[in-house]
């Protein structure tokens, strides 16, 4: 293996790490927001839920920007194909994320339109939580590409069975994770409601995971031969079981750790199925792989240095910020 190949593999893994980091961190705020109308009944409960995500959602969302930037820098061909090919679907994600980004600030201070901004908070989180999985499902199951690597399908090409099921699976994962976080960060009736919601979501997630397995068997049978995929699938199931047992014992912190582990295992599973492809092509054109879609060795090396300097700092002060805001979120603090 050449140095260039090593760098490509490093970036395949690092982008997976960034996306997993995004799922775990922004995942809980997307989940909390999507469950918001079901969990919070009173104004105080609403304040408590918003207080739980208010100080941290912005930093969490940067993981997506970092993942997108890293994909652009490391595998520009894949970045170009996916973002131009899935145009309308990704525009919906962008519109949602833009509205969600301002929703909490404006809900608190643009009082004439409070209802609108609350809807933006909920809808702007639920829609991306669904569409991320649909997009991922498409690059996994394969899309029609031409010789230049341009997507030749339409919006409806994206809505095939496997991607839709992946979308539902992703949504369930975000909801489960959000419910676990809500339980961890709140008290009283709200906490009990969040625990109950999380417990109910466990079998729903399991069903979606089983259905995804059927889809993979139908549309991507070769994936069943991958040993790492089986190992990660086992880890998904194990983590899910541990989420359920922790919830039953009222160990919210553990449940949250294991729902994070569900995401890690899911990303491991996707990476095992996908490697070495980034975007699988259906039809005669070549798939975009970590080899033919990558940047030069020098760019990958420069990026690796940037990540090696930057990411430890990011992780350090992110942990610091979470410690500053640790404990149950109550109403009445400054800000929102």
């Amino acid at each position: 293996m050449s140095a260039w190949d090593l760098l490509r593999h490093a970036w395949f893994i690092l982008i997976g790490v960034l996306l997993a980091g995004y799922s775990i961190l922004d995942g809980f705020d997307l989940g909390v927001a999507a469950l918001f109308p079901f969990l919070a009944k009173t104004d105080e409960e609403k304040s408590a839920l918003i207080g739980a995500v208010g100080p941290v959602w912005d930093g969490n969302e940067v993981w997506l920007l970092a993942g997108g930037g890293a994909l652009f820098a490391a595998f520009p061909m894949a970045y170009a194909t996916v973002f131009s090919g899935f145009y309308l679907a990704l525009m919906l994600v962008l519109f949602s994320l833009i509205l969600r980004a301002v929703s909490l600030e404006f809900r608190a201070h643009d009082t004439d339109r409070k209802g609108l901004w609350e809807a933006a908070f909920v809808g702007g989180s639920a829609l991306p939580a669904l569409l991320f999985g649909v997009a991922l499902g498409n690059v996994v199951v394969g899309v029609p590409l031409d010789a230049k690597g341009d997507f030749t399908g339409t919006f409806f090409t994206l809505l095939r069975p496997l991607p839709l099921v992946f979308g539902i699976l992703g949504l369930c994962a975000f909801l489960l994770h959000g419910a676990a976080y809500a339980a961890l960060k709140t008290e009283g009736a709200l906490r009990q409601r969040a625990q109950k919601a999380a417990l109910r979501l466990v079998p729903v997630f399991a069903a979606a995971f089983a259905l995804s397995f059927v889809m993979v068997r139908l549309y991507l049978p070769a994936a069943l031969k991958s040993l790492p995929a089986w190992i990660f699938a086992g880890l998904v199931v194990l983590s899910l079981v541990l989420v359920a047992t922790s919830l039953r014992k009222g160990r919210d912190g553990r449940a949250f750790v294991f729902s994070s582990a569900v995401f890690l295992a899911l990303w491991g599973l996707v990476a095992s199925i996908q490697y070495p492809n980034l975007v699988r092509a259906t039809g005669p054109a070549a798939s975009l792989t970590i080899t033919n879609a990558s940047s030069s060795a020098l760019t990958l090396k420069a990026m690796l240095i940037i990540a090696a300097i930057g990411m430890p700092l990011v992780i350090g002060y992110t942990i610091y910020a979470f410690r500053v805001f640790k404990g149950k979120a109550g109403a009445g603090g400054p800000g929102y």
């Binding site: 100080p55 912005d58 930093g59 969302e61 940067v62 920007l65 970092a66 997108g68 930037g69 890293a70 994909l71 652009f72 820098a73 490391a74 520009p76 061909m77 970045y79 170009a80 194909t81 996916v82 973002f83 131009s84 145009y87 309308l88 990704l90 962008l94 519109f95 994320l97 833009i98 509205l99 980004a101 301002v102 600030e105 404006f106 201070h109 643009d110 004439d112 339109r113 901004w117 341009d150 997507f151 940047s295 030069s296 020098l298 760019t299 420069a302 990026m303 940037i306 990540a307 930057g310 990411m311 990011v314 002060y317 992110t318 910020a321 500053v324 805001f325 603090g333 400054p334 800000g335």
Partner: protein, 448 residues
């Protein structure tokens, strides 16, 4: 309407709207750092109330910048896939570095500024303010690196239809990065400082006793930042113009509507470029001034538009107008800054009602100057996406039908209009409440 036009329109609209917020953040975050430092030094409670007030405003501006910036991170893949494929080896890295080195920093510590005042020590709080300041300036650096590479590409070789990185530092610190960074940052400081001065002026004119002390303490540092930045900008603007003349002579020719190459070229103070007939109507010119400004020699030769093939010339009217408006505003800012300093010497800064009213009226000008300068720089780069390397018309996505772009432009416009209205409402509400209001200070009133 073709896809190239629509893709440009979408980028122009989304980036132009976004570019209202980061410059404000640059200037305001600097003032928050100054105010926090003054508080730690003097322990004067008015500074603390002022800091809480400014952080509230900064929080709203920042979140609007974040929201409107999201689309830009992905725009190069959405609408400019051919661009991403051709120059992604160089252009992606600064965007990724911006996220790693600056977005995380500013977002995480802004969370502490807005929500954590009661949870961290006063020193840590001041340090968080500094880290938000640092993060927003590093963000400016990386995005200017990326944009400057489009203006004056360097540190690469062209191979098999793609730009391949040869030197990371050569690409990052290409011939225009440093000067464009200083020029943009100074513009941001003026924007934030003038906004802060206007807020202070409004509070003083309003005359509520609870606002008096914080408003007075805001005015002076904001004026010093504003005046210093305005004067320094004269130098940085001049150096930037010399660099444009040196590295992108056709762009300078468009800025000045210099149709023909000549020795001892004049500076056109005013005029209406008529691109069809290659002449400038109603032109008011200062003889030999352009030669003097670009090369410090009155009779030096300056390349005109006729020195370049027709299909490689930039449009003239828009870059000319943007460049001249920016210079005009820049001169106004110097005048305002010096007038303010004179009032300080005569101890009339807080009492001259005419000057206070002028500050409020002038708030839009730095925004117009920023946008005008940006439009001049980017339209003046045309017909190239990457100067003399990749045409804009060859940079768009092949897979995206024009109708999809149009649809997204319509939705973006609607969403951004809503955000603009709501954001302005929220900011004005905070400003009007004043630094002493419980709405701003929170129920407990201060740090506990």
């Amino acid at each position: 309407m073709n896809a190239v036009f629509l893709a440009r329109l979408q980028f122009g609209l989304t980036a132009g709207f976004h570019f209202l917020f980061p410059p404000t953040t640059l200037g305001l975050s600097l003032l928050v750092v100054i105010v926090e430092a003054l508080y730690l030094k003097t322990r004067d409670e008015a500074y603390k109330r002022l800091s809480i007030y400014l952080v509230r405003i900064l929080g709203t501006v920042f979140v609007m910048g974040v929201a409107t910036g999201i689309a830009l991170e992905f725009a190069f893949g959405n609408n400019w896939a051919a661009y991403a494929r051709t120059v992604g080896d160089i252009f992606g890295a600064p965007l990724a570095a911006e996220a790693v080195f600056s977005f995380f920093l500013e977002s995480v510590f802004l969370g502490i500024l807005v929500f954590g005042r009661n949870r961290v020590s006063e020193r840590t709080y001041a340090l968080s303010a500094f880290l938000v300041f640092l993060g927003s300036h590093l963000s400016g650096l990386w995005i200017i690196i990326a944009n400057s590479w489009m203006q004056t590409p360097a540190g690469f070789r062209f191979e098999g239809g793609r730009a391949v990185l040869e030197s990371f530092w050569g690409a990052a610190f290409n011939p225009s990065t440093v000067i464009r960074f200083s020029h943009t940052i100074l513009g941001g400081w003026m924007t934030g400082a003038l906004a802060a001065m206007a807020v202070a002026a409004w509070l003083i004119l309003k005359g509520r006793s609870r606002d008096e002390a914080p408003a007075a303490r805001l005015m002076k540092p904001a004026l010093i930042v504003f005046a210093a930045a305005a004067v320094l900008q004269l130098g940085s603007g001049h150096a930037h113009s010399m660099q444009v003349w040196r590295t992108q002579p056709e762009k300078m020719a468009a800025y000045e509507a210099l149709w023909r190459t000549m020795d001892g070229a004049p500076f056109t103070v005013f005029g209406i470029p008529d691109e069809k007939n290659e002449q400038t109507l109603l032109a008011v010119r200062v003889p030999k001034m352009l030669s003097l400004l670009t090369q410090l020699k009155p009779n030096a030769r300056v390349a005109g538009l006729d020195g370049f093939p027709k299909e490689e010339r930039p449009p003239v009217l828009v870059p000319f107008a943007g460049y001249h408006l920016m210079i005009l505003f820049g001169l106004i800012f110097i005048g305002m800054g010096l007038a303010g300093l004179r009032l300080v010497r005569r101890k009339k800064l807080l009492t001259s009602r005419r000057f206070l009213k002028l500050l409020i009226v002038a708030v839009p000008l730095p925004y117009l100057a920023n946008e005008a300068g940006w439009v001049a720089a980017e339209v003046g780069r045309q017909p190239w996406a990457v100067f003399r390397l990749l045409r804009t018309s060859a940079a768009v996505s092949g897979a995206v039908p024009a109708g999809n772009i149009l649809f997204s432009i319509i939705v973006f416009t609607a969403i951004y209009a809503l955000i603009a209205v709501a954001g302005l409402t929220v900011i004005l509400r905070t400003v009007r409440s004043g630094p002493g209001h419980p709405l701003v200070q929170g129920p407990e009133g201060d740090r506990t």
